[in-house]
Structure formats: C-alpha cells, structure tokens
Subunit: 212 residues, 4 copies
C-alpha cells in the first residue's frame, strides 16, 4: 500500500533548478573558453543559458565564483581521468591506452582544455590548489616510466619530458583545433584514428618500442 503523501515539496522543483544550473554551466564553458574570463560577459552567458542577467545572479554568486567553480570541475575531472594504473607492467600497452584516452578527451572536451589553457596563459591565478595534485599525479607516472627504463623496457629518456610531450601533442588537438582543421583541410570530423595512430607510433618508436 502506497503512502498517499505527495512528493516532498522541497525537491519538487529541483529538476528544473538542476536543468538551469546545467544550462548555465554549459553556457559558461562556451563563453569562458571562447572569450576568456575578462572577455566573457555575464550578459552573454545568461543569454546563452536562456536567462536574464539578474536571473543568472539568482543562481550563481558571481562571475568569479562561476568561473572558479568551472575550473575546479575541470581540474577535478582531469585528476580522475588520466590514471596509469601502477600494476601495469607493459609499457607499450600503457602508452597506447594513455595516448588514446588523452586524444579522446581533447577531441571530446576541447572547451574544457581551452579553459585550462587560457588560465595558464593568464598566469594561473586560480591554480593554486591544482599544482600539488598535478605534481603528485605526475610523479606516479614518472616513477613508473623510470622503473621501466631501469628494467630496460624503455630506452633511457627523461620521463618528465616524455610525459609533457605526450601531453603537448594530445592537448594540441583541443587548443589548436582551429589550426588543425585548417591545416588538415578537414571541415567536420577529425580522423581520430589516424591521429591516435600517428602519435602512438611516434611515441612508441621514439621510446624504443615496437609500433602498432
């Protein structure tokens, strides 16, 4: 027998609120990633989210807070995404998977990547808490790679720089999307598999491993 009590009033409107908050988030990502923090206007964000400017302020605390929240989300997301499981003992497999994931992320979330790039270009004023996390996460990977080198599974190389170069090549497809498209003379979908293959081969061979 079901209780006749109606849905709790407290949560009745939540779906609406959640939808609006999501719309704001999406709009903000687009505007911030396209125009930067200063260049983006709350006007444009509100409009894109289908709200008026004062309405927007009903949902957010301010432009700063909105931006910082977004950035935190991006960074938190990143920390979770690119993990090299320590148990892996096959450099080749690990690298293949890592590159694939990074390219996928760049191509699927180019705006988030650009948000971060802009923050870096601005001097990273909101990145204070990010560095320790990023450093720790990177160190894990460096340790793994250096173990591989020590075990003779990889040619001697600078693990830190290797990671950075992989990062650079994959991130490039988000930040430089425009140039990539022009240079590759592509108008719709990028040839994702080709991109992944070329980066992967370059890295595998560059590390002294067998290519794909």
């Amino acid at each position: 027998m079901q209780s006749p009590v109606a849905v709790a009033p407290r949560t009745r409107n939540r779906p609406g609120r959640a939808r609006i908050l999501a719309a704001i988030r999406d709009a903000a990502i687009i505007e911030f990633s396209q125009h930067g923090f200063k260049g983006a206007s709350t006007q444009a964000i509100a409009q894109r989210a289908g709200l008026t400017k004062p309405q927007l302020h009903y949902y957010i605390a301010g432009k700063d807070e909105l931006y910082q929240q977004l950035l935190r989300d991006v960074l938190a997301g990143w920390s979770n995404v690119f993990v090299i499981e320590g148990k892996e003992d096959d450099p080749r497999a690990v690298l293949i998977r890592y590159i694939r994931e990074k390219v996928d992320y760049s191509l699927d979330n180019p705006m988030l990547s650009r948000l971060f790039t802009r923050e870096l270009l601005d001097g990273g004023p909101n990145l204070g808490t990010y560095w320790p996390v990023a450093l720790a996460s990177t160190q894990t990977k460096i340790d793994l790679i250096e173990r591989w080198v020590a075990e003779g599974k990889l040619r001697p190389l600078d693990a830190r720089l290797l990671l950075m170069h992989i990062w650079a090549m994959t991130q490039h497809y988000a930040d430089y999307a425009l140039q990539v498209r022009v240079m590759l003379q592509v108008t719709d979908e990028l040839p994702r598999d080709t991109v992944v293959r070329e980066i992967t081969d370059l890295v595998l061979l560059g590390c002294g491993l067998a290519p794909l």
Copy 2:
C-alpha cells in the same frame, strides 16, 4: 661643444616617432599576450610605453588596429623563420635543425607564441590572410617529407601530422611555460639543451632515424 650639424626640422622627430612606435609595439605585445585582447587595456599599454592614453591614440588608430597590426607582424615574422631549405637532402639534419630552431623560438619569444595561441582560442577572427600563407609554407615541408618517405629515407608516416606534432611539442614550451616550470620544478632557465635533445630523439627515432 655643440654639433654644428643641423638636423632637418622636418625629420628631426622621426627617430623619436620610430622609437615611440617600437615602445608601443613592445608594450602591446606584453599586455596582449598576458591578458588577451579584451583583458588588455589601452591604459596599461600606454603606461608601459611611457605615454598617456591620448598620446597613445595619437600614434595608433585604435585598439583593434594595434592588435591586428601586431598579429600581422608576428605571422609575417613566422613565415620567414621556419624555412626548410629545399636543397636539403638529409632528413636527419633537417629535422635536427628545425626542432632546434622551433624550440629556440618558443623559448626566446614566448609572448609572440602566446599572442597567436590566444588568437586561435578566440576563434582566429584576424587570421583570414594567414591561412593561405601558412598552408603554402606547410605544403612545401610536406612535399619534402613525403619525398623522403617515397625515397625510403623515412618510415611511412603522415607528414602533415608529423609537422603538427613537432609544432605542438615546441610551441608547448611557450604556451604552457607556467605548467612546464612547475612540473619541471624549475625557477629560472629551462634546460634548453635537454629539451631539444629529448624532442629530437623522440622525433628521430619516431621517424625511423638514428637518434642524436
């Protein structure tokens, strides 16, 4: 004792004008690359150039024009810098020299690189005339690389993507300078030679050539 040479009054201020224009240029590069187009204020540019705001406007047509002129200069400069002389028939030597030059450029002119990156992130509204030039310049290099592949001097690979990946890795040291410094835990000079060597080895090996 005064020099008896009487400078022609008409041209007397020309050096002054040129010096001022150069100061404006330098100031604008710094401000635009640091804060972006919207984020940079004519106030700050004027101040950095040692001028007042109206003075600045006496020398420039407007913020837009100043920025566009700057960008044109950067791009024109670029076109001249990275030339692979067609006579070269030694892929290894060409790549070694090319990477060296690109890294040097990134480390020596990070602000110019960032200016361009910001323009790309903005969607490249002022890049209309750049693409044809860039495409042509790239095509020359692609032709060369593909000839090398056809001649068996290089393993089969996508020349366009290879160029892009080299670009990505080298440009990274300008755009991501902040992250690079944090990750490498470097506070003053980057270990330029190590960087060049690692990228070069990665690319040479990745192309099926002998490392350094």
Copy 3:
C-alpha cells in the same frame, strides 16, 4: 490530556499572524534603525523575522509602507510617554521625573530614538502628521513652565529652548550611544544613575532650583 476546546479553524492562525507581524515589526526596527531606510534590505528584515522575502511581502504592503507604519507607531508611542501632568505644581519634582523618564526611554529604546533621528536627518518626509501632535504636546509643557516662571518658581528662561536642551541631552544617549561608550570607556552597562543625576543637577541648578 488534551484540551477539548476546538479552536475555530477560521481564527486558528490569527495568533500566528499576530506573532509574525510582531516579528516583522521587531526585525524592521532593528534593520531600519541600524542601516536607515535605503540601507535596510527587505531580505535582511525577512531573514531576521524568520521569513522568506516573498513571505514578508505577503504580510506587508511594501518597504515604504512598513517603514511608515513603524514610524507612526514610534511617534504615537512617544506622544503617550512623556506627559507632564498639568496638576503638578512642583517644578523640581516634575523636572526630576521628566529627566529620569527620558533617560530611561533613551537607554531602553535606543533603536526607536535612532529611527526618528534618521527620519529627521532624511528631512522628515514622513513626519507630516507628527508635527501638529508634537507641537501641541510641547505647548502644554511650555505653558506649564512659563506659568512656573511667572509664579517665580523658576528663573526667567526660554521654556521652549529648555525643553529642547533636555531633549537633546537625553536623546544623545540613544543616538550617540557609540560615542558615549567610547568616551566614557564603558563596554557594558552605562552608569544610568550617574547620567540621570548629572543631567538633573545641571538642569535644576540651571533653572535656579536646588540640586538633588
């Protein structure tokens, strides 16, 4: 054991309503007296009254009306408080009691006093109906004092100004509470009796009467 008295449903909420209205009144007094009309926000009033903003607007007609009602209440209250009973024929006793009452009122209801002071500073836009009442009430006192003077019970003086000066000194303890506390270097309770005694002696002697 439950009371069998079934409250009429129609009037069940009346006490609630009255309690809410009282809460609003109290909250409004605090906020208005602390921040002034413009400085006070309905938000803060609502919150202090334990209501949401729309709830508040359900009970009041508007910020203006709430304020005006409040002011009317204060003024009406005032008219009732400081009465010099005409039958009194002993100036000394009357003055002693009057000063005591005024000081007590200022110290016990500083916020009401400040509300009025702010209204005066604002130019008294809502004081239209107050003046006649106040004037009449004052006139009674003036008549009494002038009678005393005529009867030789008081030295010749300007009754109107005397009343005003008493008002000034007593009101001071409400409006200038902050300065008073700093100057007297008092942090909790003011030495009420001392204050009353000093004012009283000053006035009594100043009127040619015997001090306390």
Copy 4:
C-alpha cells in the same frame, strides 16, 4: 630680467580642477548628509556637481573613498576647531567661548555634523582612527575641568558628562535642525544669540557659576 617662459602647463588647468573638486566636495556633503552613504547615489552627486557619472569618476577614486575623505576632513576640522587653551584659568570665560564656538559651528556647518551623526548611527565603520584623537582631545578638557573642580572654581561634577551634555545641546542644532525649526516655529534664521545665551546660562548656573 624675466624669463619669457610661459606659465607652467602643469598648473594651468589647476584652478579648473580645483573648482571641480570643490564642487564635488560640496555636492557630496549635501548628498551624503541628506541621504547617508547608501542612500546617496554617485549619480546625484555628479549631477549636483554639474558632471556626468563617468566624469565624476575621473576625479574621484570611488564612492567609498569620496565618503571617507569627506569624513576625514570633517574630523580633522573638528580636532582643530574646539580647543580649550590650557592657559585659561577662568572657567566662566572658557565655557562661554566654548559654547559659542560649538553653536556657531553647528549652525554654520550643519551638514558636516550630520555626516558624522550618520556615521555614528551606522556604527562608525570609518571611525577607527578618530577615537584615539578624540579621546586625547577630550582628556585635555577633562583635566582642565577637574582642575577647576579641585580648585573650587566649579562645583563638584562629572567633567566627562558635562562635556558630553554641552556637546549634545550644541550638536542638536545641527542634527535636529528640522525639529528645532518646527518647534521654534522659525522659518529662516534661528535666533542664534538667544540659543547661545540659554545654553550658556543653563551650563553656567548648572556648574555653580554666575550667569551671563
């Protein structure tokens, strides 16, 4: 022989600037004293000073700064005005002069007084540096009065409270100007001499001295 060099360009426009700054000051005093800090709008200040809003911001740093500067001026002015020269050994003469000066100041600068009163009502958020100065200045006067009492020149009384009561009565003519005018049924000039005389007599007699 006089130098033919024209007036220094740096100071040529200063009179204009000074006049504008004075206009802003005057306008700000009126608006702030009439409507309080929150209630006053830069719009109204600018308009009253004959400027547009952005023009106003060319001359001032912000609403806060303008207000604080004003307040500082008022307080600094105060510190200089009401001095009881320590050499004075005649309580009667000192009190007569002091009261006269205070009444004059209140009647001549009512808006400055109101500015301060409003600041007090607001809780004195910008009064931090004022209190020490005020306390010191007051202490000097207290010492003097207490010396008089010790020398038998004044009846025993609380010097601190006496000063406060004089302050209260005189300040009253600024803060409560509206009520004063209504109560005294005066429309233009207050009977300044009468006011001074009544306060003075009240105080002199109240202190055990001979009246005027």
